[in-house]
């Protein structure tokens, strides 16, 4: 019998494989800094040795990623490997160390100087390279400090207290069989990543990191939250059987792809994909998404010194619009950015609570009106070029005035786009315009908002965080982060009622829409469209296909009257289980 720990389910899936432990910098088993207590000559040599090691790691990473068929990412790692031994960077850092500067700050200063040179060029693409240089600098620093992240060599299950995005994103997907976190929340980046890869993820598993210390093999079941270290033969066979059953049910679900998503008695539900960049389009289309219910545009705005130009945005939006075509609408979410990320071109003061601060549509009143106008002009123009009707929605809408601001910006942007001489005649007549409902005030104002806009899209993650006053990133508040809480469901019912009066559709684009049990509850409450990661669509389609309208009406009534989220989850699970049997 192996050591058994139970955490919270994050992403469904079963995996058995070697343990790969990730320890965050400064915790526990890191090695002492090799450069401490030595002279300047040794410090310069330490910088050069760390840079060489960084280049070796990056080359190995590039090779592994290339073997997995991801050539574009491999090119980036290869360029980073060259930067790590680049004389411009390494000589500058070593010279600074030789002159007595502390090695870590010598490396950071040299990387910052190289990044600044690239960022100062007029070419937009080089801004991303500037971020790559800084990233290389940080990798060298990690090696100098002995905090270096040795990536798994063979396909493994990651065990960590938390897996930061920078590390999670670096593990080639084929080498990650599953994720189990001692901390973390079900909306953690690593969990979202796991769902998109179709691998299991478990969070909030007490004692996990210590228990993993002596273990070599681990079995995880993301649906039940079970983690078993060094499973015995019976346990191993049990997990293998679960894995077989799961892959069979996934095959069955995939077989439903060619039928439109509907309940057993024929009520249609529109299934859409959430995407974060043009690169996500092929997966969404393969999963038979009927469009993109959420196109996150932050990728254009992050990790750079200046705002993206209109032309750069037009190219990105056009690529997505063309990939989906005129029959599969793509809803562009205006940039959800603000004080939580230091974006130099926003000129925002630091805030104590950036998620309750100046962000998204609120930027218009804080000196960044032009940023939103530029984005809207780019959407108009890209839609004209791709020959599609543009769909746009604004996050962080709290009031009727916010919605009016969105409509005004939209119209002003259309005029701007149409008067640009080259574009005349190619701007669409209409932009389908919606607001996200993620602030409780917007849910309460739904009847009035519904008369102003063309659709609602509920962001369940933020609606839950703002309703329960519980930071979605704080693992200590996990029990307050479940969007199935009846308090959240009652707000969703208000939104649907308001939308129905005005005859506009309601979509949900939060994580809940991708969870089969959650999707059933949402459809039961009258939600028309579900938008989730492409990897979740098969499971949602299969869940909806086995229930009837009557069963859902009964589920809605009981869910709204339930005491807590666990009770609601059990009701939906029961309905699913009863139908599958």
């Amino acid at each position: 019998m192996g050591t058994r720990i139970v955490g919270r389910p994050g992403a469904a899936g079963v995996a058995v494989g070697p343990v790969w432990r990730y320890l965050a910098g400064g915790v526990g088993e890191t090695r002492p800094s090799p450069a401490s207590g030595t002279g300047p000559g040794d410090a310069a040599a330490a910088v050069r040795a760390a840079a060489e090691e960084a280049a070796r790691q990056l080359e190995a990473l590039a090779g592994r990623v290339r073997d997995l068929g991801r050539a574009d990412e491999a090119d980036i790692f290869e360029a980073q490997a060259m930067m790590a031994t680049d004389p411009e960077l390494v000589d500058a850092a070593a010279d600074r160390a030789q002159a007595g500067e502390e090695p870590v700050s010598a490396v950071r200063a040299a990387a910052a100087a190289a990044a600044a040179t690239l960022a100062a060029l007029p070419d937009e693409l080089l801004a991303a390279r500037a971020a790559d240089v800084r990233d290389v600098g940080e990798r060298i620093v990690r090696i100098l400090l002995g905090e270096d992240v040795a990536l798994p060599e063979v396909p493994s299950v990651a065990i960590a207290d938390d897996l930061p995005p920078s590390v999670a994103a670096e593990i080639p997907p084929g080498l990650l069989l599953g994720v189990a976190l001692e901390g973390g929340s079900i909306t953690a980046h690593a969990v979202i990543l796991a769902r998109s890869f179709g691998i299991p993820a478990i969070v909030g598993a007490p004692g996990l990191v210590v228990a993993a210390r002596a273990a070599t093999i681990v079995a995880v079941d993301g649906a039940t939250g079970e983690i078993v270290f060094d499973p015995g033969p019976t346990e191993a066979a049990d997990f293998a059987a679960r894995a077989d059953a799961l892959s069979e049910s996934r095959l069955v679900a995939a077989a439903l792809r060619d039928r439109p998503c509907a309940t057993a008695d024929g009520e249609r539900v529109v299934l859409l994909a959430n995407i974060g960049s043009p690169a996500d389009a092929p997966r969404a289309l393969e999963a038979r998404a009927e469009g993109a219910g959420l196109f996150r545009t932050e990728f254009l705005f992050m990790r750079r010194q200046t705002a993206p130009t209109e032309a750069e945005q037009v190219a990105a939006y056009r690529a997505v619009f063309e990939a989906f075509g005129p029959d599969r609408p793509v809803v562009v979410r205006l940039a959800d950015i603000g004080g939580d990320k230091a974006l130099p071109y926003l000129n925002l003061p630091a805030e104590a609570n950036p998620f309750l601060g100046v962000r998204a549509i609120r930027l218009a009143g804080a000196g960044s009106r032009e940023l939103l106008l530029t984005q809207l002009r780019a959407v108009w123009r890209a839609a004209g070029l791709a020959g599609v009707t543009p769909h746009v929605m604004a996050p962080m809408v709290a009031t009727l005035a916010d919605a009016q601001l969105l409509l005004d910006l939209r119209d002003e942007a259309r005029e701007g786009a149409a008067t640009a001489a080259a574009a005349v005649g190619s701007i669409p007549e209409k932009m389908v315009t919606g607001v996200m409902v993620e602030i409780p005030s917007a849910a309460l104002l739904a009847p009035e908002l519904a008369r102003m806009v063309d659709f609602f899209s509920i962001g369940t993650n933020d609606l839950t965080q703002y309703t329960m006053a519980a930071d979605r990133g704080n693992p200590a508040l996990a029990s307050l982060q479940d969007a199935l809480h009846p308090a959240v469901l009652r707000l969703i019912r208000l939104v649907v009622a308001g939308a129905d009066q005005a005859g506009i559709p309601v979509a949900v684009c939060g994580e809940l829409a991708g969870d089969p049990a959650g999707a059933l509850v949402l459809v039961a409450l009258g939600v028309d469209e579900l938008s989730a990661d492409a990897g979740s669509l098969d499971g949602v389609r299969a869940a909806i296909a086995v229930v009837t309208r009557n069963e859902l009406a009964d589920l809605a009534e009981r869910a709204l009257a339930a005491n807590d989220a666990d009770a609601v989850r059990a009701m939906a699970g029961e309905l699913l289980g009863a139908q599958v049997r």
Binding site: D86, P87, E88, L125
Partner: protein, 94 residues
């Protein structure tokens, strides 16, 4: 010293993979090799450094001057010329 003036006519100029190909080729020679963006008019940069080459901001249609000095300078220039003519391994815009 050997010098050649070349036109960059591939789509992404000396960015991304073409820049890496250029630097790897230059680094394969013992001679010191430098590159100068004549269109932008910036100072000559070390052609064996990816950061320096990226910093030249060479885009499609720019002219560059490549100089090599050392025992294999002729071979270095010849190799870089062939590379530029072939679009640094990237499709050449028609």
């Amino acid at each position: 010293m050997q010098v050649a003036e070349l036109e960059v006519h591939n789509k992404s100029g000396l960015h991304a993979r073409p820049a890496a190909t250029f630097v790897k080729t230059a680094a394969g020679f013992r001679s010191s090799v430098s590159v100068e963006n004549l269109t932008r008019g910036a100072a000559a940069a070390n052609a064996k450094s990816l950061l320096a080459v990226l910093g030249c901001g060479v885009e499609m249609g720019h002219r560059i001057r490549v100089s090599a000095e050392g025992e294999d300078e002729e071979a270095a220039i010849a190799a870089l010329r062939t590379l530029a003519e072939g679009g640094f391994g990237e499709a050449v815009a028609g």
